[in-house]
Each structure stands twice: as C-alpha cells, then as structure tokens.
Symmetry: C2
Subunit: 414 residues, 2 copies
C-alpha cells in the first residue's frame, strides 16, 4: 500500500504538471542539472556505499561498472538534462484539426500520458534520465530502481526534486519507491487507474516478469536477437565491414548482431574473410554444418544458438538458401528488433524491407544504428520491441498521448 500512496501523490501532481508551460519545465531541467553538479560530492559519497555493498556481496564486475558514479558520469547526467531541455516540447501540439459538415471543429492534441512508472536495474544514470524525460513531457514519474543502487538513487532524487520543486514543478511529481522488494514491483504494475504506463528497462528476466504480471499498460523494451543477412549479390568489402561493426562495435547492447546469415552462392568466398576479421576481434563463432565445411575451425552451432541473445563476443553463422530462406529464419528466430541485409540487388532489398517483421529494417548499413540519438530524436527512453503505441527507438513523443478537443456552437446529435 506504500507504493499506492506514492503513486496517488504522483497522480495528484500530474494534474497541474501536465499544463505547465515549456519555459517552466525547461527552467526546472536547468535547475536539476545544476543541482546534480552542486551536489556531486554527496551523490558520489552515497554511491560509494552502494558500490561497497555490491563488492561485499561479490556482485559481478559488469554490475559494479554499471553502478559506479564518478565526476564524469555525474557531469554526463547533468549534460543529458540540458540536452532534454534543448529539445522541442511535444506537449500541446495539435497534430491535426478538421471541420465536420455540422460545423464541429475536431482537433487531436498531444498531451502527457499522466503517471509513468519506470522499473529498472542497477544504473543510477537512468534515474536522472527518466526524471528529465518525464518532466519535459509533463508526466509525473514513479521510479522503482534496484536495491543495488538505492543509496545513489535517493541522493540523486533528493538533489533533483529539491531543485525541481523550487523551480515550480508541482510537489509530488517525482516519486522514488524505496522499497526494493519484489512485492513493490508487483504492486506498482497493478495500479490500474493510477499508473498510465509502465516501462521496464533492463534484462530479459525483469521485462518478462513485468509483461507477464502487469495489468496496467506496458511498453516492452529491449531484447534484441538481431541478424545481418549477406545476400548473393553484394559488395563484399561492405558486407565484411557491416558484419564486423554490427557484432563488435559494442557487443553488450540490444542492437548488436547475434546471427550472421550468408547466401550459399557466396559463402565459400566471403565466409573465410569474415571469420578472419572476427577472430582478430576475439569473436567466438558458432556455425551451421555448411559453415563448418567452408571454415572447419568454426565451432558447431546447436539449435539454441539461433534464438540466443549473447550480448557478447559470440556470433552464430548460418548458410541460407537465398533471400526467402533468410527472411524465414529471421521471422522465426528474431526478436523483432533490428535486422539488416547487405545487397546490391534492388528487388531483394525491397523484399527484405517489406517482409521482415521488425521494429527497424536496414539495407546496406549496421543494425547498431537503432538508437534515439542516431535517429536524431535527441533523447531516448529505450527501444520498443512491441507494436502497440511505440515501436523502435522512443523519443519524447512516445511519452505522450492524444486527446480529442471538440468545439461546437450548440450542435446536438440527431
């Protein structure tokens, strides 16, 4: 019930927050950025408590790396808020407006969602990002971070809310759920009528739990089993560059490639080149039978490899029987995230774009571009892999909904 109490405060605050002017919200964003900088030493001190506990608990190096805050990382959080401040405010935009034969003027106006719940793991910078993105779009925000980052999150929220409320943001607009038990997640995702959407940000386990149990609307983010298909007709140098980039430029993220598909007509020619390059980057390769006939040193792939999101220096490789076989494989095993073809054949390019069912489909470029900043949105809330409301990189607009505004002169329905 403690979560519900906090969410009710957020809901109440959202009423006046939703109609604040852009100037007021931008002033608060600047104030919050300054507050992070001026409270830097205290934030880092609190973070060191989290880091110490994580080390005592023998948490993984990767987790501790995500958790740790230093001067540069806090500065980057403040800078992120200033970038959000510089973006256009989507709230209030009238997307379209028309007049009906009876004289009614009907308009679609962009408005905040209301109360946004964010459930996330051990990165404390998500706290600052989420507050900035939600306040910019006039949404109250309920944060449920992980226990690992609780001291950091408290310090960040304290500094940011003091600054925001002094700058005119309604009290209660930002709520941190300090209870980091599983029960608090379960309560938050079932507060229909109070929470307008929940966005889980983190690993597959967290996302699946939220999707399976939420009764409030969810935007599913993240899981990426992405493919690069190298077509029979293509520029081989370009294909090698794209495969290497999609796999190795940052293997731990959702838009990195996990499986390479190669058309059988060029497999013998191009596979040894690709394998050589990837071996230089210490990538482990798991190939199908045909791949291993061409490059015997490759490890054998099991059928589970086609579904795996490695997030690591590992790549599955399969030789396929042309574009249709490639598309079938992707639609069967892909997670609907990002898929790329390398081809110089016009018809194959168009077929791939039309038939592959994913948030983002690429011709002759790397899957690594699926990203709000790379798309020019200026900010990113994550990558949606569902089809409802938002698909692909989410910018500020995805934190809004619409409202119909109808102006009449006494019209009644006959």
């Amino acid at each position: 019930m403690i979560v519900a109490k906090k969410v009710r405060l957020a809901k109440e605050a959202s009423k006046s927050l939703g109609v604040l002017s852009s100037a007021q919200k931008d002033q608060a964003l600047e104030a919050m950025a300054c507050a992070l900088e001026s409270n830097m030493s205290q934030i880092i001190e609190e973070n060191q408590i989290d880091v110490r506990i994580a080390k005592e608990n023998k948490r993984s190096k990767a987790l501790i790396d995500r958790l740790v805050l230093n001067e540069n990382r806090v500065k980057a959080m403040a800078q992120g808020l200033r970038v959000i401040k510089s973006l256009p405010d989507p709230v209030g935009e009238v997307i379209s407006q028309w007049r009906r034969p009876n004289g009614l003027q009907i308009g679609q106006k962009r408005v905040p969602l209301g109360v946004v719940g964010i459930i996330y793991e051990s990165r404390p910078n998500v706290t600052a990002d989420a507050i900035g993105l939600c306040l910019k779009t006039g949404n109250a925000v309920v944060l449920r971070g992980s226990s690992e980052a609780i001291h950091s999150n408290k310090a960040i929220v304290k500094a940011m809310t003091e600054a925001a409320y002094s700058a005119g943001i309604p009290h209660g607009s930002v709520q941190l759920v300090e209870d980091t038990s599983r029960e608090s997640v379960q309560e938050l995702i079932k507060l229909n009528g109070l929470v307008d959407v929940v966005i889980p940000r983190g690993g597959a386990g967290l996302i699946n739990t939220v999707v399976a149990n939420a009764t409030v609307p969810v935007i599913e983010t993240g899981v990426g089993n992405c493919h690069v298909y190298v077509d029979g007709e293509c520029n081989h140098d370009m294909a090698v560059d794209i495969v290497v980039n999609a796999k190795t430029q940052r293997p731990g993220v959702c838009n990195a490639a996990e499986t390479l598909l190669v058309d059988k007509t060029i497999a013998a020619g191009i596979l040894p080149r690709i394998v050589d390059k990837l071996k230089e980057m210490n990538v482990e390769i798991r190939g199908c039978e045909k791949t291993r006939e061409i490059v015997p040193e490759v490890l054998p792939a099991s059928s589970e490899d086609w579904s795996e999101e490695y997030l690591d220096y590992i790549l599955a490789v399969k030789v396929v029987d042309g574009i249709d076989d490639a598309i079938d494989h992707i639609n069967k095993y892909g997670s609907g995230h990002s898929e790329a073809i390398v081809t110089s054949n016009y018809f194959n390019a168009e077929k791939f774009l039309n038939y592959v069912d994913a948030a983002a489909v690429y011709v002759n470029t790397s899957t690594r571009f699926t990203d709000g900043f790379e798309y020019g949105f200026g900010a990113e809330l994550g990558i949606s892999t569902q089809k409802l409301h938002a698909r692909g990189p989410m910018g500020l607009k995805e934190l809004t909904t619409i409202k119909y505004i109808i102006r009449g002169q006494g019209q009644i329905r006959k």
Copy 2:
C-alpha cells in the same frame, strides 16, 4: 492448445496478407459483401438456432435483440464492408522520412499489427465488421465471439472466408475460435509472440477480465461515465438541448451522459427547466441535496451514483461550486471517455479543455458525438479509454503500427 493452433495459422497467413495490395484487399471486401447477401437465407437460418436456444435459456430481451439477424441487418453488414472498401488503405503510408548527417535515409512506414484478437459478446454483426476492418488493414484476425451467437458466427465466417480466400486473401487469415469456454479466452490473451493485440468489445465484466489477465497488449474500450457541466455563464436554451440530447438520444451507449453538473449560481433558474424536459422523456433523476432543495420531486442521489454508468433513462445531478469544482468531480469520478461543458465564458472553456483528463472533451456540444463516423473516420473499432496506442474513436489507422526503414550505402557506427 486448440486456440494456439488457430492463432499459429493466422500468424502464418499474416505474413503474406500484410503485403497484399489495396486493390486485392478491396476486391476481397466486395466479394465478402456479396457472399453475405447470397448466403443470406443460410445465415438467418443458423441465427434462428441461436435465437431459439437463447429464448429457451430465458436470456434477456436486450440480449436477444442484439443477437437476432434479419434481412435488413445482414444487408447492413454487407453495406458496412463496402464502406470499409471505399476508405483509403492506411498500410504503406510513409508518415515521415528524413536524412541523417551520415547519409542514412530513415523512414517511418505504416504496417499492419499482424494478428489481432477480438473478444466480443452476442452481436453477430461484430463478426463481419471485425473481419472487414482487419483484412482492410492487412491484419489476420482471431475471433472469439460468445456461445450465444456461435451458430450465426460460424455461418458468417464460412460465407465470408470462402469468398475472401477465393479472392486471394491467404488461407488462415480469419480464424473463429469455436470453443466458447472461458478457458479459450484465457488461452488467447496469453499467446505472447503470436497475438499482437487483443481488443475486448462488450460490457465492463468482459473488459475487466481481459485487462486483468492478458499478458499480450490490450486496447481497452468502452466504459463511459460521461458528464455535462453547465457553467454559470451560458446560453440556457443551448444547455437544455445539449443535456437532453446527451442523456436521451441513445441512453444505452457509452458516450451518453450519466451525470449533470450545474454551477450553483444558475442552478435555481435552469434546473427546473432541465428536469421538466427530462421528465417528458421518462428520465429518472437522482440529485444531490442542493438539487433537491431546488426541485424537491427529484430522488436523492447516493454517493455510488457519481460512479455509475447507467446506460439507461437515469441521470445523476449535482450542483457544483464553479468550474474548478466541476473539473475535480469529473477527474475523480469520470471514466476518461467524453466530457462536455456548456459555457459562453472563454477562459472556462479553455480551462475545461486543458484540465479535464478524458479521450474527448467538448465545448458547447453533446458527448454523443464521440464516434468514428461522427469524427469522419468512416469506420469504427470502438472507443479507446486508455492512453496507450489509441485514445478515443479508433479508425483504420489504429489497427496499424510503424516500422523504421533505413537505407544506407555501407554506413557503420563509429
């Protein structure tokens, strides 16, 4: 597992259905309309079995009225398909496209959702509507109608699918779940990865069951506790007309008004006029204390009346202390459907439009206009009362999602 098997067939069919040309889909819509007409006698015969069983089971008159099909109703179903045929196809529209500094061309293209599940009650015309709307937008559809209409639904689906498949719609695109047990609903709403969205159409019980149990995305439709607020400054004749229209023009639908709010400064003058007019229409009135001081014959309202969706000739009436009190009441008790103010005061009109949190907000006109046809969409899938993906009347566009299409020349991420 029987539902999953049907949904898998739908998913398979959706792959080629999604890329059919508009001409092919429109040809199928015409063929389905003709099939309803040429199979009219068989459809009505099967419907009479349903009607006989409903009568034997002593089902309500209202249910039997919704269930029954006659020549005119079947003709209207066919006509509905021809209207859908005449509308523009939203699939394939490129909503926006831009070029990034690195030369990537990024486009947002409108595509089908994939597989749409519709769960509905005893009106067999929903079967034809849902098939028409989904096929027009390139979606496969899984229909789960009620047991009361199962003979009618089977006959309609048989006639329509034979015609559609002959006209080139992929086999399997339309699936009727003939198992009308509760278990079949529970199975359908948990088929993540196969069902892209479920839309429940019916009463609050059905909708709440689906929202509470679904793990696939849901579009919540329907419940309408709508208000008309008569402001202190307004044209009294206009106010009386709008209140009477919003309550009585069709009381059984979700956009009918359920509560009247009247500013205290004009209550003594206007309430007797409104009550007189509503009494002529046999409307039962349940008023607050102040209302009953002005019109003593009015029945007393209990606190439950403010939350009630009567869908009947009943109206709750409350005297309020100005616009702020009215907005607070609406945001507390309303269902976020349709809300109206009658006013001649500019600032109060704007305040109402900005602060009332609902899918549709009206100035000086009736809540009864919340409707896809009245808005000019040409077709309607229902009224969404949630904020995610669709809000308010849903037309064809709401059955689509977007896909990012990125064309490159070998770009890789640095």
